[in-house]
Amino acid sequence: MKIPSSIWTLLIGISLTLVSLWYGQNHSLLPVAASDSATLVDGLFNTMMTISTGIFLIVEGGLIYCAFRYRRRQGDNSDGPAIEGNVPLEILWTAIPAIIVIGLSVYSFDVYTALGSINPHADHGGESHQSMRMSGSAMAATLSDKPQQVASVMEMQSEEVEKEPDMVVDITGMQYAWIFSYPESGVSSGELHLPIGKETKISMTATDVIHAFWVPEFRFKQDAIPGRQSEFRITPKSEGDYALICAELCGPYHGAMRTNVVVESQESFDNWIQEQLLASKDDLNQAIAINPVDKSADDFLAPYTKEMGIHSELLNQIHPH
């Protein structure tokens, strides 16, 4: 008994939908999502993967089907049917993609405004968004009588511009390294350390050419442009060690321009700040004198042993006192 083609079409449509839905959620094409923003972006990507899989299967399947089913048979030199169009069908395949892209635009808009902000409040009015301030040279200042240009960057937490960030970091990109400075503690480092759960405001620029700050696990990227400050805020949510990669061609060694973002507990972060301050002191004797003698031997040695991977509990077990 021959199965009617409408049933075949229905079955193919159902299996196609199921495969697309499954693959959209199980593609394993992305690295771990290490922030809430990253999770939002991944949700958008998964939806797009589902739709894409469906379209891919329909078009490729259609092509392969045609190539076999409608190929010219031996000895048949006649033409095919003189079908020139079908207006309802054409309307359908114009409307469906239009609806899909409108839907994706709305979804993307939602994700964009939510990035970095868990609770989008009502607009507080006033100055919105992060600004990019042109810090041109003195010569430029005399040439231009316009007020400094303000262009907004990432609208991460545009509604919370009034709120003070928990921490501030200044980033400078140069060929071929990043310098992170923590103005509150005076520390400068080649690694970015962030305390978990705290909102950090980052102010970034470059000294020579355009670089870009990219942390794949955060799904976040922003160009560092010489002559401009760009500001954005990050609230990391998972501890770990993530790659920070330069993502704008900056010269022959662009591929080597990478460092780490370390997301850690507040305590661990504070320890790191202390270590950095220690390490930056010129006079080591003076540095040692900072830690008063009334510290126990374990406390005194803790920063050094930690670096060696030895914990005080272990020392206690070996040498209880």
Binding site: S52, R71, S78, P97, A98, V101, S137, A212
Partner: protein, 558 residues
């Protein structure tokens, strides 16, 4: 079902008379014949394709291993810069121009283009500009800031090469503008009287859309490059922040052209495919007006999407959202074409020859690039994958899977017309299979590479990406190998292939209604249309049509 009545009544009167044949030496001269110019464009651009391909394989050889162990990082940057510049400005754009030059007058029944001398000038600008660019590698100071050449980097590094690059592009851009003027005027003004705008082949619609884009956008690139050259040599600071300039303004000017450029690179082949598929499916094209107008829609929308290349460049949020929406919209006219082509094939009598195989490959591969393009339009996602191998994957799927497969399809399809001989089908199929395998092997893994964290324009990468990169490299070697069957086939068939006759495909458009190759003046007298360009399967009362072989309108077809 009747076959088209073409052979019975069509009369092709040009038989070895004073209209003459071309001497082969004419192809090396300043010749104003659009057919000669078209072939000059095609052969020249193909040579540059091979050079660009060698550069690509050098890049991929470096990327076989995570360390920089094949070339120096400086040379590496020049390799990918020149690879992209050559492929865009010296291969795909001129190849489209080559087909347009060859086909437009034939398809509309004209003797030549509107401005034949300008046409020749436009072609002859290309070899010197191309040689200049290649010479920059030979003299050891090649451009190395990427084909996008963003300042301040492009002002700091490889400055002689950068100057050469700018000059070369200014010349090539001018050539493109001159060609566009010719195509537009010819299409609008020189069709035979019986060919209204809706009886024109879809290739001409596509070239109309392409030419409008080229005319409107290329001058902006010229302006941007001229300002960049002033910064480079005259100490100005248009884009240099240390003098108060703004590097992002360059990006706007650059992309205002370079986004339309990608549509300039694909629209001609959308048009070509719209010719190939109906003929080899023996069915009318499905939705002629929809496909015609979608070309114009893509052309218009292509002018208002440029900043989707700049989503992370510090542009304001409102700008990101605007360009996201316009970029998403452009998927709709593109989808109309894809579904239209699919519906043309559906129910037809498909000949799976090389031209049709490449056309099917075009549709199947381009759609993958189109899908990744819609993903890239979504700003939050683009923020993650901008400047990564995901973009490299997307662009190669649309440019190689789209434009290059389209070029090959058009070559196989019109080879009989251009040379008077049939190209060998077996080797054409070998070429097709090697190309499809090589293309997917090279570019499919790049999607994952980008998503997982591999940025682009790097000579050294994170070792976790090694195995995927090796697959890409070996795929690129297969692509290199795939070119050889084509080259040998084309040359051998051109010299010794079986004679093609006037209309080996039993097609209905006017270029098939004259000899292969066409006489110098294309047609004898003025052709008169008797059918629409895609009227396959249509019954015509064959008694009505008479054949005339005098000065009266000839080349009738039913």
């Amino acid at each position: 079902m009747t076959e088209t009545q073409v052979e019975k009544t069509a009369d092709i009167p040009v038989q070895g008379n004073e209209h003459g044949e071309r001497k082969w030496t004419d192809f090396f001269t300043f010749c104003t014949d659009h057919k000669v110019i078209g072939i000059q464009y095609l052969v020249t651009s193909f040579i540059f394709y091979c050079i660009g391909g060698v550069l690509a394989d050098l890049v991929r050889t470096e990327l076989r291993t995570p360390d920089v162990d094949f070339v120096t990082p400086e040379v590496y940057n020049s390799l990918f810069t020149l690879h992209a510049t050559i492929m865009i400005f010296l291969w795909i754009v001129p190849a489209g121009g080559g087909f347009a030059n060859y086909l437009i007058p034939l398809m509309i029944g004209a003797k030549d283009m509107a401005f034949p001398r300008l046409n020749a000038v436009a072609f002859w600008m290309i070899p010197p500009a191309g040689l200049l660019l290649i010479a920059s590698l030979a003299v050891g100071d090649a451009p190395d800031a990427g084909w996008t050449s963003y300042p301040p980097l492009s002002l700091m590094t490889g400055q002689v090469g950068q100057g050469i690059w700018i000059m070369s592009l200014l010349v090539l851009g001018t050539s493109s503008i001159l060609g566009a003027i010719n195509f537009l005027v010819t299409i609008l003004k020189m069709r035979v009287p019986s060919m209204g705008i809706y009886q024109m082949p879809l290739f001409c619609w596509a070239m109309m859309a392409t030419s409008l884009l080229a005319l409107l956008s290329t001058p902006v690139l010229a302006a941007g490059l001229i300002l960049l050259s002033f910064d480079l040599v005259a100490g100005t600071a248009f884009f240099n922040p240390t003098g108060g300039g703004d590097p992002v303004v360059y990006q706007h000017m650059f992309w205002f052209y370079s986004h339309p450029a990608v549509y300039i690179m694909i629209l001609p082949f959308f048009g070509g495919i719209s010719e190939v598929i109906p003929i080899h499916s023996r069915k009318p094209v499905f939705g002629y007006k929809a496909i015609a107008f979608s070309s114009l829609a893509i052309s218009f929308l292509g002018l208002i999407v440029w900043a989707h290349h700049m989503f992370t460049s510090g542009v304001p949020s409102w700008l990101r959202m605007f360009f996201m929406i316009t970029t998403m919209i452009i998927a709709v006219p593109t989808g109309i074409k894809i579904f239209g082509w699919l519906a043309t094939m559906w129910g037809g009598k498909i000949r799976l020859n090389s031209a049709m195989l490449f056309a099917i490959g075009f549709v199947g591969t381009f759609v993958i690039g189109g899908i990744s393009g819609v993903m890239l339009a979504a700003v939050p996602f683009d923020i993650h994958v901008h400047d990564t191998y995901f973009v490299v994957a997307h662009l190669h799927y649309v440019l190689f899977g789209g434009s290059v497969l389209g070029i090959f399809s058009c070559i196989y399809h019109w080879f009989p017309k251009m040379t008077g001989r049939m190209i060998n089908e077996f080797w054409g199929k070998v070429h097709f299979i090697l190309t499809i395998v090589g293309l997917n092997m090279t570019f499919l893994p790049m999607h994952k590479l980008g998503l997982m964290g591999m940025n682009r324009r790097i000579a050294q990468y994170d070792p976790q990406f090694t195995s995927l990169n090796q697959i890409c490299t070996y795929g690129s070697y297969i692509l290199a190998i795939s070119t050889f069957p084509f080259i040998f086939n084309a040359i051998w068939s051109w010299v010794k292939g079986p004679k093609a006759g006037d209309n080996p495909w039993n097609a209905l458009t006017l270029e098939w209604m004259t000899t292969s190759p066409p006489a110098i003046e294309n047609f004898e007298g003025t052709p008169v249309l008797q059918t629409g360009p895609y009227d396959y399967g249509v019954h015509y009362g064959s008694d009505e049509v008479t054949v005339v072989n005098t000065e009266q309108p000839v080349a009738v077809n039913t």
